[in-house]
Symmetry: C2
Subunit: 430 residues, 2 copies
Amino acid sequence: MKTALAFLLAARRCEIDDLERLALSCELVQAVSELVHQLQRERGASNVFLGSEGARFGPQREAQLLASRAAEAGVRSWLKRPELGGEKSGGAVHGGARLLTRIALALHALDGLPGLRGDIAARRCRPDASTARYGEIIAALLALVFEAADVAVDPGVSRLLVALFNLMQGKEFAGQERALGAALFAAGHPAPERVQAILHLIDAQAQCFRRFEGFCGDEVLRQWRALQSVMPLAEHERLRRMLLASTLGSALDPALAEAWFDCCSQRLDQMHEAEVALARGLGESCARRIASARTEAQDQAALLEALSTAAEIRAPLDMLIGTEMAGEGAPAEPAQGDGPFGPQLRRSIVDLLHAQSQRLQAMSDELDAARAALDERKLIERAKGLLMACRGLSEDEAYRLLRQTAMSQGRRLAEVAAATLALAPVLGRH
Amino acid sequence: MKTALAFLLAARRCEIDDLERLALSCELVQAVSELVHQLQRERGASNVFLGSEGARFGPQREAQLLASRAAEAGVRSWLKRPELGGEKSGGAVHGGARLLTRIALALHALDGLPGLRGDIAARRCRPDASTARYGEIIAALLALVFEAADVAVDPGVSRLLVALFNLMQGKEFAGQERALGAALFAAGHPAPERVQAILHLIDAQAQCFRRFEGFCGDEVLRQWRALQSVMPLAEHERLRRMLLASTLGSALDPALAEAWFDCCSQRLDQMHEAEVALARGLGESCARRIASARTEAQDQAALLEALSTAAEIRAPLDMLIGTEMAGEGAPAEPAQGDGPFGPQLRRSIVDLLHAQSQRLQAMSDELDAARAALDERKLIERAKGLLMACRGLSEDEAYRLLRQTAMSQGRRLAEVAAATLALAPVLGRH
């Protein structure tokens, strides 16, 4: 009995350890969300700088670099936390090998920043190329947040991480829309397939924000709706309409590129407010869960202590433990089958054990439900991987192929991804 | 870059730690599988002893108790392993809180054994009650094996655990069939619903063995098929037919109870041979996975070492790490965007990172596939829990209700469980 209770308490302790590791991952996610926001601003400023041949946004870009570096320092200082140091670093991060690998990939992507910034400062790269390179770095950071959401152990925290990932991903699509739209206005007569890509980005944002709204919780949702009332939505939709009208022959006014950029930037900044609120809610949710798990564990320990003391009056616990397997009929083995605890105490311990087991199972079910919201992206990632392996495409080419197929067939990207995976045997491998 | 590589290696180390914890859980599962077998034999011997008013199987039962206690000592000695000791016990068990809670429940169930044995020795309980009490203890041990399969982190090991759980569960149904059949033969004119229950046990065994065969791997499958050729299948089927014929009015010959019991016991012993082979395969599979993960980690570490050395010739690594965020144009930030590693080395590190990430994702997908085989049981457990909460039934009553509904409607138990869960809002809660 004592051993059973020891394992019950060990399970509680293990749960608290898991939550503390999860809280640590959430801090990383918060720092990453701030860094993504700063990099999106840096990408925007760099585009104007490059597009104007260095004539505009030079000082703004320099100021933005400081903010980006501060945000990057925030992420890197998390990685230097003592809990992560030394030989045991693996164990301290919740989610283990998968999250650690994503951290490695994100750090590797960040290592490309100084080179990219050097190229931009010397105007050695075109706005398109700069956008794509920032996009890759941001994608690696988003993949880290995705993984953190996928490996989270607490349903409530997991739901908020799913919401945050979708908000960040939707905002990144909005950032891509800003860059592409600005280029289209500047071009005056854009190619129809580039305008098509705007449609895809609008659709992708809508999907992300729908999922975000489904998981962010009432308070953040209220805040999000309030933010939307101050977003320049009407102006944004008017400019979007002009972009689309260009496919029917009307020329775009290059002078509107700036209005488009400002309007989109304002929208992105307001999305960031929701991100900050959500990230704060995430931290609070972790702290609350840890506090309540600690209280429950203390209550349980006190109850078990009381039960043990009550039992000791009737038969020394240690005797039971020592002689349990010594043979039938030994003095410490009462014949009534209840051990020294008596039917009632025994009953309450059984209840405690079953309640814990059912609670953990229910949590695991809720977790699965939250995680299911991540399945679509996994499908798309897998289909991309398949196309890269079978067709020798780059990641970006694979994604474009899937997206074009979806657009031309009027199907959702996830459907095309599923169909692609179903064809795996046909596609074969190189 | 150095930090990215450090996290790549940390991910590997984390994977190896996970596998070592999994290997430890597999040792527990092996010990539990031996204990379940001995308890099934003890239950059988106790039934004959009780059924014969203590006239038969007294010495056999005493001998069996020694074997059962040895097997129990095997389980308990696992629990006293130094890796599990002290404050940190939670972290050492893979699967964390859920597996630890199942261990607590199993230990608690085992604590009821001395009392049950005392009742049997003093012939204070009937064979039915004894069967039910042994059944509860064995169910708690099976739930532990189920949980170990559900939380396993390696797809190959997980498949073997799914196979072992299904073999053990199928064998337990076979054990219940032995007990019930012996009682029916002894009764002479059994009630039709008790014969119905035999049909259910036959069906449940078939389902378990089908899943076992799907997951046990080629070698164990060959062994299993070979074992079946020496199982007393024809005799067993003949006796089963007699049991069923009793519902049409033919009386059962109580003298056949013993033939039935022997025939079933022989079959159970042969199933145990497959269990032992599978448990051995499980241990070997863990050891192989750990060895190969260690080799891969060493290869990777050596490769990274070589890459770092190559890089150090061109630019001191520490300078990069130290000055990365110091500002653009600092000497350690080469403008070509490849850092001190050069495009080729940088490429091979990216490949390494992506390969690891894809491997982990593929493993996670395979794991999900293996785990899906456990979903049916989870449905049934959840439906049982719902009925217990809403109808105030005991676990056994809830199970009987589901089973009877399934039998009377000719549907599978899992279907009825799913339908029950879908009705949750209608059933309400007390």
